[in-house]
Amino acid sequence: MSSSPSLHDERLVLGVSRMAGAVACLIILVLPLGYFFLAYKTQAQLLEQLTAIKAEEISSLASENPELWTYQTRRIEDLLLRHKGKEEGQKQTVLDANQHVLLSLGEPPPPPVLRRSYPIYESGRGVGRMELTQSLREDLEGTLVAGILGLLLGGAVYITLRILPLRALRHATQALLGQQQRFVTAIESAMDGYALLDTQGKLLEVNESLSVLTGYSRQELQSLRIADLGAASTANEFIARVTSTHHGRLETRWQRKDGSIIDVEVTATCQAQGSTEIFCFFRDITQKRASEELIWKQANFDMLTQLPNRNMLNDRLAQEIKKSHRANLQLALLFIDLDHFKEVNDTLGHAMGDLLLVEAGQRISACVRETDTVARLGGDEFTVILAGINESEIGTVERIARQILEQLSTPFSLQNEQAQVSASIGITLYPGDASTIQGLFKNADQAMYSAKNQGRNRYCYFTPA
């Protein structure tokens, strides 16, 4: 049996790895870039607002003293210091209308820098500029930290996204492989044969038991179709039925590689509509069927003469009554009792008696048509059903009765012994004498005793009392 392809598909691993990598890269990039963007935007806005506020306040000062405001650097400084922004790394510069620096607070910030300026107005005229310069170094440091965090987070995300799904996949794969292994073990250790078929009946997978069952090697089996093992039409019909109904059971007969014939029970399942795979189990039922046949035979046939017994006779008589009833025909039931059989047993022994009974059965059978039934009820009693008799053929009954009398009265050669018996036959007709089995038996028995009473070796028809 071949193993299924591994679920640990390299393409899946590659896909998961790529997805995890993409997400991780996104985090690694987005975190620092997002941080820098937000930090820069925030800083720029704050700096712009702060510059505007400071410029507005200096504008107020300039409006109060338009001619001399430029000398009030101390007050300008006080004003600037009232609105404390980011003191470290920030330089505040106030310029007059000629762009001369009136006041400069703070050291030049380390690059890179962000600069914002806002005009200082007096009565609507620009009389100077307020300028704030701020270092972006802290933002860059923060961006670096965010980058490191992003790297760590991205790595963690990569590990999480890659390892966890693949671990789950590996677990699932292992579970499936375990199940598969258990399935394979179960299949391989099964006494029954197993095969996976396609819808054409080709054997895709087989187990060792099937190989033993058929006598073919596994490789040989995998080159065969199921139809090659038995009746092709039966097999093809079975495959079609299973494909449409999803399951099926069949008892068929296969020819093994060595030419021997075996009876096989096939159980098949098709997973779903449209499935191209059929799971089949094959059981050798040759012995079972032989046992069943033996049991059936023991139940329905006399083991000594191999003639139908009372059970089979009742069954056939019931069937023949139905047929006759439907066809509006008659049947005759002949009750045959051997005369003087007891003496044979007493003088020659039961073994010889048994031989006589066997031959008597054969002689009676030789007198009737193939469609007629000869049965042994037990002891030295035989019964014959002559079915399908119409009005014009009623003489056939008597002819057969005479023939039987003649045959049974002929001496029997039993090994080295000779034996002589005769027969008394009671005849009753359906539906004239009776329409039920019990009635017919009763009538035939009564007629047989009439023949006995009349001196044996004769036949008598049933006559109502």
């Binding site: 000398y71 400084e77 006080d78």
Partner: protein
């Protein structure tokens, strides 16, 4: 005012009267020569009101002579302006530094005025202790006795008024720092703004100078500190130890108009105005 001090002031007045008579004769000639000039004066807000009164008096005696008092420039600003020639005379509440001296600045102290803690004139309070003031600045004492919330008017930290308040006591030094750190405390950029705020804002208290209160006729009153009233006499006797020195600062080029005006300020007539407005002569 004790009798001894009153006697000293009386003597001063007599001397001033003699001086006024002598200087007025001299000035009449000087004024005549600068009659067509314009004198631009700027400086500390503590003295601007007094300068305005001096200018009015001087202008009245010297028709055609025009004096313009520019809005408060502060001491530093006015020294810069006078060195740049933007104004003719600076009025400073601090001496010039070495750098300003090198640039040609020269100064003359023309008086001193008590540095005061002021409240609105209508406030039912006249005196305060240094400790109470420290508690106010520290935020411990937050209401006046009548229940009015106390509202501190701060000056910029680098301003001389802030430094003077700090010098009252170590507790006040800490209190001022605490007040500067508290949000929502109003900071007045110059003396006039501070005086405006003290008049306008209910329960306001803050630094000022007696000369400003008197010369500008502000609806403010100077509180006694630890029971001592901030009068020129108490300041002169050091009973009230907090006062501002007031200087005329001129640039390298000294105009006759400036000389004339400063001489007038130093004249008996000028000194009378100074004294009447809370400035005493050391």
């Amino acid at each position: 005012m004790n009798p001894k001090r009153r006697c000293r002031f009386a003597l001063l007045d007599n001397r001033a009267a003699v001086l006024v008579a002598m200087v007025s004769v001299l000035l009449s000639g000087l004024i005549g020569s600068v009659a067509a000039d314009e004198l631009k004066i700027g400086g500390t807000g503590a003295a601007l009101g007094t300068m305005r009164l001096l200018a009015n008096e001087y202008s009245a005696k010297s028709p055609g002579f025009r004096i313009r008092i520019v809005p408060s420039l502060g001491s530093g600003g006015s020294i810069k302006a006078v060195l740049a020639g933007a104004i003719d005379l600076a009025v400073s509440s601090r001496p010039i530094n070495e750098q300003e001296r090198k640039l040609g600045a020269s100064l003359r102290e023309f008086g001193r005025t008590p540095f005061v803690v002021a409240v609105a004139a209508k406030m039912p309070i006249d005196t305060i202790t240094i400790k109470e003031l420290a508690d106010i600045y520290a935020g411990i004492k937050v209401k006046w006795p009548d229940g009015t919330p106390i509202r501190i008017i701060l000056r910029p930290s680098s301003d001389i008024d802030s430094e003077m308040i700090r010098s009252f006591s170590p507790a006040l030094r800490q209190g001022v720092s605490a007040a500067e750190a508290r949000p929502g405390i109003r900071v007045a950029l110059n003396d006039q703004m501070a005086a405006d705020d003290l008049e306008r804002i209910p329960g306001a208290v803050g630094p000022s100078s007696l000369s400003l209160l008197l010369s500008e006729k502000r609806q403010l009153k100077a509180l006694s500190l630890d029971g001592v009233r901030p009068t020129p006499e108490n300041a002169a006797s050091q009973a009230y130890p907090y006062s501002k020195r007031l200087f005329f600062v001129t640039g390298a080029r000294l105009s006759k108009a400036v000389e004339s005006f400063t001489a007038f300020a130093n004249s008996p007539a000028g000194r009378k105005i100074l004294v009447a407005n809370g400035i005493w002569l050391p």
